[in-house]
C-alpha cells in the first residue's frame, strides 16, 4: 500500500486514540480510589528506540518522564542482556530508571512483528502505598530511596498471557494494602493488553513500513509546528529564581537561565540548590516534564505530543542538584512539589519572551494528603491531592480551587472516602480572602478538613508555598500561602505544610491551600466584579477595602 500523507496521519491519530483507550481500561479495571476515582495515571505508545509516538492527556508530570523512563528502561534491559519476549511485560518503579517516584509504577510491553520489536506500549500509575516509613509512602523522614518504600527494579510482570506471581506478590506484599496493589498492578496489564491489540491491528492493516513512516512523519509535523510557534517568542536570554521550602525552615533555590533562539530553547539550571537528604529531589525525568509542560502551554496544545514536539528543547540540570539528584537520594516529593516550583520558575523566566501569555503564579503545591492506620483488624492507606487557586491571567481571573500545572487528578468523592476509610469530612469549599488581588484576581484556594473516627491514625501533609507566596504579575498581589491546622479537643494549632502527625478519634486536620497570584493593578479591577466577589463571599468587605482601594471608588453597603 502506498504510504501517502493521509494514511500516515490516520495511523498517528489512531495511536493517540489507542493511548486514550489504555487509560480508560486502566481506570475501569483498577482497585484503588486514587486510580479509579482520580485517574492518577498516564499511557503512551513509543517507537522501538523509545521515541514518543503518542501520549494521552492525563498527567503533565508524566509528559516528559514517561519517555525519559522508557529510554532508561530500554538501556537497562540491554545492559542486563534481558530480551523481552513477545507478549511479555516488564514492571519497575525505581525513579532513577523510570522517572518519577516509587509510588509510580511503570509497566511496559514490547510489540513484536516478525521477531523484531516495532513499538512499545507503556503506562504509569500512582500506587497509594508502596511501603516505607509512613502510610502513603511519601515522608519527609525518609533519608534514602529504600526508606521511601519498595524498590522494584525492572522485572517481568506478565509472560505468555499469565501474571508472574512472584513479581505481583513481591511488590504487593511490601505495601500496607496488598489487595489493592494486586488489583491496580493487574489493571496496568489490562491497559497494555488493550494498547497492544490496537497497535498490532494498525500494523496488520497498513503494513510495518507505513507504521514506521507514520512515526517519522508525525515527528516532522510536530517539529515544524513547534518551530513556527517558536518564531513568535522574543529571542534572548532570560533568567528567574524561585524557592521551595525545606522541612526545617531552610529554602531550596531553583534557578534557571533560558536561551530562546529561532530554532530552539535551552534551559540551564546551574545555580540550583544541591541535592538534599529528604525527598524534595526531583529526578531528571520530572525536571524535563516541567520544561515540556510549560513549553506545551506556550506553544499550543494542538501540536501533537510526540518526540518531534520536544526535539528542540535542551535541558541541562547539573548532576547532584535537587533537579538532577543521584541515587539513592529520596525523591518522593520531587515529583509532586519540586515539579510545581519548576513550572513556576520556568513561566517566570519566559514571561519577558511571551509577555501576556504567562499567568501569575498558581497555588504552587499539590497539597498531598496521606493517611493510614488500622481499621477492623486490617491496615489501610489513602492518598489524594487538593487543588489551589490558579494565577490571574491577562484577560481573566484565575480559576478557584482546581488542580494547577503539573497535575490534573480528580478529587476523591467525599462519599467514597466516608464509606471506605474511618474519616468524616467536615469542610470542602473555597477559602475566603485567599486570592491575590489584581485587575484579574488569582483563584481562591480550598479548605479541606478531615476528622478522624479512629485512634492512632497517621496523617501526613506534604505541601509548599507556606512562606514563599504565589507571585503576582504586572502589579498583581501574591496569593495567600498554604496553612495546615490541627484541632484536638477544640484547640487549634498551626503546623508546618510538611508534617506527619497522629490523629485520634475526633481530631481534625484542616488544609488551607494557597490562592493564585493576581494579574495587573487591583485598582484597575472592574468594580462590579469586586462587588460580585463580596456578595459571593469569596472576599470580605475588609479585604476589598485594603487590597482594591475600593473606598475611593465605591462605598460598600
Amino acid at each position: 500500500m502506498k504510504s501517502d500523507r493521509v494514511t500516515l496521519q490516520i495511523i498517528s491519530n489512531s495511536l493517540l486514540y489507542a493511548s486514550e483507550e489504555m487509560g480508560l481500561a486502566l481506570r475501569n479495571s483498577a482497585y484503588s480510589p486514587n486510580i479509579k476515582e482520580r485517574m492518577d495515571h498516564s499511557a503512551a505508545v513509543f517507537d522501538p528506540t523509545g521515541k514518543l509516538l503518542a501520549q494521552a492527556e492525563h498527567i503533565p508530570v508524566h509528559l516528559g518522564s514517561l519517555p525519559w523512563g522508557l529510554a532508561n528502561l530500554i538501556r537497562h534491559l540491554s545492559r542486563e542482556r534481558t530480551e523481552l519476549e513477545a507478549g511479555s511485560m516488564v514492571a519497575a518503579n525505581d525513579p532513577y530508571i523510570t522517572g518519577t517516584h516509587l509510588n509510580d509504577v511503570t509497566v511496559a510491553a514490547p510489540i513484536h512483528s516478525k521477531g523484531e520489536v516495532v513499538a512499545y506500549v507503556v503506562n504509569k500509575a500512582h500506587h497509594s502505598d508502596v511501603g516505607g516509613v509512613v502510610p502513603g509512602s511519601i515522608s519527609m523522614r525518609a533519608r534514602t530511596l529504600s526508606e521511601e518504600g519498595y524498590v522494584l527494579e525492572p522485572t517481568t510482570l506478565w509472560r505468555r498471557g499469565k501474571f508472574v506471581e512472584s513479581t505481583v506478590e513481591g511488590f504487593s506484599r511490601a505495601s500496607r494494602t496488598p489487595r489493592e496493589r494486586r488489583g491496580d498492578l493487574k489493571a496496568q496489564v489490562a491497559a497494555n493488553v488493550t494498547g497492544a491489540r490496537r497497535v498490532k491491528e494498525l500494523i496488520a492493516r497498513y503494513g510495518l513500513e507505513a507504521f514506521e513512516l507514520a512515526g517519522e512523519n508525525s515527528f516532522k509535523h510536530s517539529a515544524t509546528l513547534t518551530k513556527k510557534r517558536l518564531a513568535r517568542f522574543r529571542r534572548g536570554n532570560y533568567e528567574a529564581t524561585d524557592f521551595l521550602e525545606g522541612p526545617s525552615g531552610e529554602d531550596l533555590k531553583l534557578r534557571v537561565r533560558v536561551a530562546v533562539s529561532t530554532s530552539d530553547v535551552s534551559l540551564d539550571y546551574s545555580g540550583t540548590s544541591a541535592e538534599v537528604d529528604y525527598p524534595l529531589n526531583a529526578v531528571l525525568g520530572v525536571t524535563i516534564s516541567g520544561a515540556y509542560y510549560v513549553l506545551r502551554c506556550l506553544l499550543g496544545d494542538d501540536i501533537p505530543a510526540n518526540y518531534g514536539a520536544f526535539e528542540h528543547v535542551r535541558v541541562h540540570a547539573p548532576m547532584g542538584t535537587v533537579l538532577n539528584p543521584t541515587s539513592p537520594h529520596p525523591v518522593g516529593g520531587g515529583n509532586v512539589e519540586t515539579s510545581q516550583r519548576n513550572a513556576d520558575v520556568l513561566f517566570r523566566a519566559l514571561y519577558p519572551s511571551v509577555r501576556d501569555r504567562v499567568p501569575a503564579a498558581a497555588g504552587g503545591s499539590m497539597n498531598n494528603v496521606m493517611m493510614g492506620g488500622e481499621a477492623a483488624g486490617s491496615a489501610w492507606a489513602f492518598y489524594e491531592t487538593i487543588g489551589v487557586g490558579l494565577g490571574g491571567r491577562s484577560r481573566m481571573d484565575g480559576l478557584d480551587g482546581i488542580q494547577a500545572n503539573m497535575t490534573n487528578t480528580m478529587n476523591t468523592p467525599i462519599e467514597e472516602i466516608e464509606r471506605t476509610i474511618p474519616i468524616r469530612m467536615l469542610r470542602y469549599e473555597f477559602r475566603q480572602d485567599s486570592s491575590g488581588a489584581g485587575k484579574f484576581r488569582g483563584g481562591s484556594g480550598l479548605i479541606r478538613a478531615y476528622q478522624s473516627l479512629a485512634d492512632g491514625m497517621t496523617f501526613t501533609v506534604l505541601a509548599d508555598r507556606g512562606r514563599h507566596l504565589p507571585w503576582g504579575l504586572k502589579g498583581g498581589f501574591p496569593g495567600n500561602g498554604t496553612e495546615v491546622v490541627v484541632e484536638r479537643k477544640g484547640t487549634r494549632v498551626a503546623v508546618p505544610p510538611k508534617s506527619t502527625f497522629r490523629l485520634d478519634a475526633g481530631d481534625i486536620a484542616e488544609i488551607r491551600t494557597a490562592g493564585g497570584g493576581g494579574y495587573g493593578d487591583p485598582a484597575e479591577r472592574d468594580v462590579s466584579n469586586v462587588i460580585r466577589d463580596v456578595e459571593d463571599g469569596l472576599l470580605t468587605a475588609q479585604k476589598v477595602t485594603t487590597d482594591y482601594r475600593l473606598g475611593r471608588r465605591f462605598t460598600l453597603k
Partner: protein
C-alpha cells in the same frame, strides 16, 4: 386511564433548525419538515394543522425536543435557582471534580455555574455513609433559610446533602420547611432525582433538574393546552434520553431524563428496523450537516450509559470531563464527532490538511450551495469528486454549483502543493477516519468486534460514506433505510415505550432472583399507575470485582451463571479474569410497552422504470464512469453491483466496487 393504541400515531421532533413531523397509519407514512419557531409549540401546532383533520384521530403524539439542551447551552430560560447543601460544602457544585477541562490551555475555564455562590446556601445537618443520622437538621436555621429563599425571588430550589443516597430524610425535612414557609416554586431533592453515590455528580444532576423544571413544565403544559384547544386529544409522550418515553407530568418534574431525546430517536428507529430485519448486531451511523453519530444496537437493545455531560465539549468523539454539566441517568451511548456534510477543511501552519471541527452549518453552508459559503466542506469534496450530484440535490429542488465547490477547494490546494482532486480525496479519507473513530468508540473500545455488525446508515450524508466506512471497519453488510434523511423522526413512532427501574445492591454473594422479583413488582405497579397494561420486563445486573469502581452491565438469566457471564466479559475486555469476589452494584429492570407493528417504512408511490444516467465519480479509490440510478424508479427486488450511485430525494447512496445491492421495501441492502 389505559392507553389504547390507535393505529394512527404522530411524531414531532423539534430540532434547532427544523421541526420534523411524521404521521403513520395503515396506509404508510407521511412526512413534513417545517422551520422551528421561536415558541416551539407554534411550529408543532402548525405542523399538525398541515396534516389535516385526520391527525386529530391519532392515538398518540410522540415528541422530542431540544428545549432543555438549548437552555443549558445558551443559559436562556433557566430558572433562578438556589442550592441548599450541608454546612462546609457550599462549593461542591463549582469545584466539581477539581480538574481543569483543558490540561495545557492557560486560558481554560469551567462552564459557568448554574447557581452562583451567593445563592448556594448551607445548613447544619449530617448523615453518615451508612445512612445513620449524625446531626439532625438545624430546625431554626432551616426556617431562616426557607424565609430567605421564599423572599429571594427564586423560581426553583435544589437540595443535596452528603450521603443522602443512603438516607434522604434531611432533604425531605428541608423541603417541608420550604413549603411551610410558603415557597411556591419547584423543589428537586437529590435522593429522589438521583439516589446514587458521588456527591458532585448527584448535586449537578439535581441542580440541572431544578434549573430546567420550570421551563419544561411551562412548555409542556402550554403545548398540551393548545393541543386540546385545537381538538388533539391524544396523550403526549416525551422521548427520553435512553429511548424510553415519559408522560408530560413525569418529564415536567424530571427534565433531566429528556435532555438527549432528539439523538436518541435515530437509534430507536434503528432498533425498530433491526428487529424487523432480524439484525442482532447493528452499528448505527447518522451523518448530518455538522456531526456524525455512531451507536450500537445489540440483540435489539441500544447500549445505555449512566452519565452524560450536557452542553460539554468533546475531543475526537469523547466528552471532555469538566467542560459541561454532568447528569446521571440513562442515556443512549452515542459517540459524536465533528464530521458532517458542512464540516470545513483547512490547512494548518505546518502545511497539513485538516478537516473540522468548524462547520459551515446551514448558513452560509457548503460553497456548492451558492449561498455565500467560501470554505471547502465535505459536501464540496463529494461534489467535486462526482459522488454527489453536481447539478442539483433534493430531486432538483436545490441547485448545486460545482464550480463554486471546485473554487473553494482550490483555495487550499495551492498551499498543499496538490491538485484539487487530490485534496478532495484527502478530505473524504480524513472525514472517514474521524467517523471510523466514532464507530470504534462504541464497538472496539467497548470490547465488541465491529466485523460482527451491520451498518445502518442514515441522515442526509450517511449513505454517501457508508461503503467507505464499512470497508474501514471490516464490515460487509450495510442497510440504508428509505427516507434516510428523515429516519430519526421515524424513531419517535417506531420506539417502544420503555422505562428503567433500578435497585441498588452493593454487595457480594447476594442472590438476585428474589430481588428481581421484588423490583419487577414495583416496576409493574408504577407502569400501571401511568396507564400501561401490557408490557414486558427485562433483567440486567451491574457488577465489578470487589475493589473496582467501574461496572459492567450484563443481562441476568439465573443466579448460577452471573459469575461466569461477568468473568467472560472481563476477560474479553482486559485479557484476564480474577478470583476476587464479585460485587453487584445494582440490578435493573426495563419495562417495554409493545407498539403496533404496522409502522414499517414503505414507499407510497409505485416505482416507474427509468434508465440510469452516467457520470464520472471517485469511488473505491478510483475515478471512473458509473451508472446513476434513481431510487424512486427502482421497484423492490431490483439488484445490481457497484460501483454505482443510487440517488434518492433526501440522500445519495454511493456503492463501492465489489458490493452488491438489492432494493427492498424498507430501503436498500448492500453486501460484499
Amino acid at each position: 386511564l389505559p392507553v389504547k393504541m390507535s393505529r394512527m400515531a404522530v411524531g414531532v421532533d423539534v430540532g434547532g433548525t427544523f421541526t420534523d413531523v411524521i404521521l403513520s397509519d395503515s396506509e404508510g407514512l407521511e412526512v413534513l419538515k417545517l422551520p422551528t419557531t421561536a415558541d416551539p409549540a407554534t411550529a408543532v401546532l402548525r405542523a399538525l394543522g398541515r396534516l389535516g383533520p385526520k391527525a386529530r384521530k391519532a392515538g398518540l403524539i410522540s415528541h422530542a425536543t431540544t428545549l432543555a439542551t438549548n437552555a443549558l447551552l445558551t443559559h436562556q430560560g433557566l430558572a433562578h435557582t438556589a442550592l441548599i447543601t450541608n454546612d462546609g460544602f457550599r462549593d461542591i457544585l463549582e469545584i466539581g471534580r477539581q480538574r481543569r477541562p483543558e490540561l495545557y490551555d492557560l486560558e481554560t475555564r469551567r462552564p459557568s455555574t448554574l447557581v452562583r455562590r451567593r445563592d448556594r446556601l448551607t445548613i447544619r445537618c449530617r448523615v453518615g455513609a451508612d445512612g445513620s443520622e449524625i446531626e439532625p437538621l438545624d430546625a431554626k436555621g432551616a426556617e431562616a433559610l426557607a424565609e430567605h429563599v421564599a423572599k429571594g425571588g427564586f423560581e426553583s430550589v435544589a437540595i443535596c446533602f452528603l450521603n443522602s443516597y443512603q438516607n434522604g430524610v434531611h432533604e425531605k425535612e428541608m423541603r417541608s420547611v420550604l413549603r411551610d414557609c410558603g415557597f411556591p416554586g419547584h423543589i428537586s431533592i437529590s435522593s429522589e432525582v438521583d439516589d446514587e453515590y458521588r456527591e458532585y455528580e448527584r448535586t449537578s444532576t439535581t441542580v440541572v433538574n431544578a434549573a430546567l423544571s420550570p421551563l419544561m413544565t411551562g412548555y409542556l403544559s402550554s403545548l398540551r393546552t393548545s393541543l386540546r384547544r385545537s381538538n388533539f386529544r391524544a396523550p403526549i409522550y416525551i422521548m427520553n434520553s435512553d429511548g424510553g418515553a415519559s408522560t408530560v407530568a413525569y418529564a415536567s418534574s424530571r427534565p433531566v431524563t429528556v435532555i438527549e431525546s432528539g439523538p436518541a430517536a435515530g437509534v430507536i428507529a434503528s432498533r425498530h428496523l433491526a428487529r424487523k430485519l432480524s439484525l442482532n448486531r447493528v452499528l448505527t451511523f447518522d451523518m448530518g450537516g455538522t456531526t456524525a453519530k455512531a451507536a450500537t444496537v445489540i440483540d435489539y437493545e441500544p447500549e445505555v450509559i449512566d452519565e452524560f455531560e450536557a452542553a460539554g465539549k468533546t475531543h475526537s468523539g469523547r466528552s471532555i470531563r469538566g467542560s459541561g454539566y454532568p447528569i446521571r441517568g440513562e442515556f443512549i451511548d452515542l459517540a459524536e464527532v465533528s464530521a458532517g456534510g458542512g464540516t470545513i477543511a483547512w490547512v494548518d501552519e505546518a502545511g497539513e490538511l485538516k478537516v473540522g471541527p468548524a462547520s459551515a452549518g446551514s448558513d452560509p453552508g457548503p460553497a456548492c450551495y451558492g449561498t455565500g459559503g467560501l470554505n471547502p466542506t465535505v459536501t464540496d469534496a463529494n461534489v467535486v469528486l462526482g459522488r454527489l450530484n453536481p447539478a442539483a440535490l433534493l430531486g432538483g429542488a436545490m441547485p448545486i454549483r460545482s464550480d463554486l465547490a471546485l473554487r473553494s477547494i482550490r483555495k487550499i490546494s495551492g498551499r498543499l502543493g496538490l491538485g484539487p482532486m487530490e485534496v478532495a480525496k484527502g478530505i473524504i479519507r480524513l472525514v472517514d477516519n474521524a467517523m471510523a473513530r466514532a464507530m470504534s468508540l462504541v464497538t472496539i473500545e467497548r470490547g465488541r468486534d465491529p466485523r460482527e455488525f451491520e451498518i445502518l446508515a442514515f441522515g442526509g450524508a450517511g449513505p454517501v460514506q457508508a461503503c467507505d466506512l464499512a470497508e474501514e471497519m471490516g464490515i460487509s453488510d450495510v442497510v440504508v433505510p428509505l427516507h434516510a434523511g428523515l429516519f430519526s423522526a421515524y424513531g419517535l413512532l417506531a420506539g417502544e415505550l420503555t422505562r428503567s427501574f433500578i435497585s441498588p445492591v452493593m454487595g457480594t454473594g447476594v442472590r438476585l432472583a428474589g430481588r428481581f422479583h421484588e423490583l419487577e413488582l414495583s416496576a409493574a405497579r408504577a407502569m400501571r399507575e401511568e396507564g400501561f397494561i401490557r408490557f414486558g420486563l427485562d433483567r440486567y445486573f451491574e457488577g465489578r470485582y470487589l475493589g473496582q469502581s467501574h461496572e459492567l452491565l450484563l443481562p441476568f438469566r439465573t443466579d448460577s451463571n452471573v459469575r461466569s457471564t461477568f468473568d467472560a466479559r472481563h476477560r474479553a475486555l482486559y485479557g484476564y479474569s480474577l478470583p476476587d469476589k464479585l460485587e453487584i452494584v445494582k440490578i435493573k429492570v426495563r419495562a417495554r410497552v409493545p407498539r403496533p407493528s404496522s409502522m414499517l417504512l414503505q414507499p407510497r408511490t409505485p416505482a416507474s422504470h427509468t434508465p440510469p444516467s452516467k457520470r464520472r465519480a471517485w469511488i473505491g479509490g478510483r475515478s471512473r464512469v458509473v451508472p446513476v440510478f434513481n431510487r424512486e424508479a427502482l421497484p423492490a427486488g431490483s439488484r445490481g453491483e457497484g460501483p454505482c450511485i443510487i440517488e434518492e430525494y433526501d440522500s445519495t447512496l454511493v456503492v463501492n466496487p465489489s458490493w452488491r445491492w438489492t432494493v427492498e421495501d424498507y430501503g436498500t441492502r448492500l453486501t460484499r
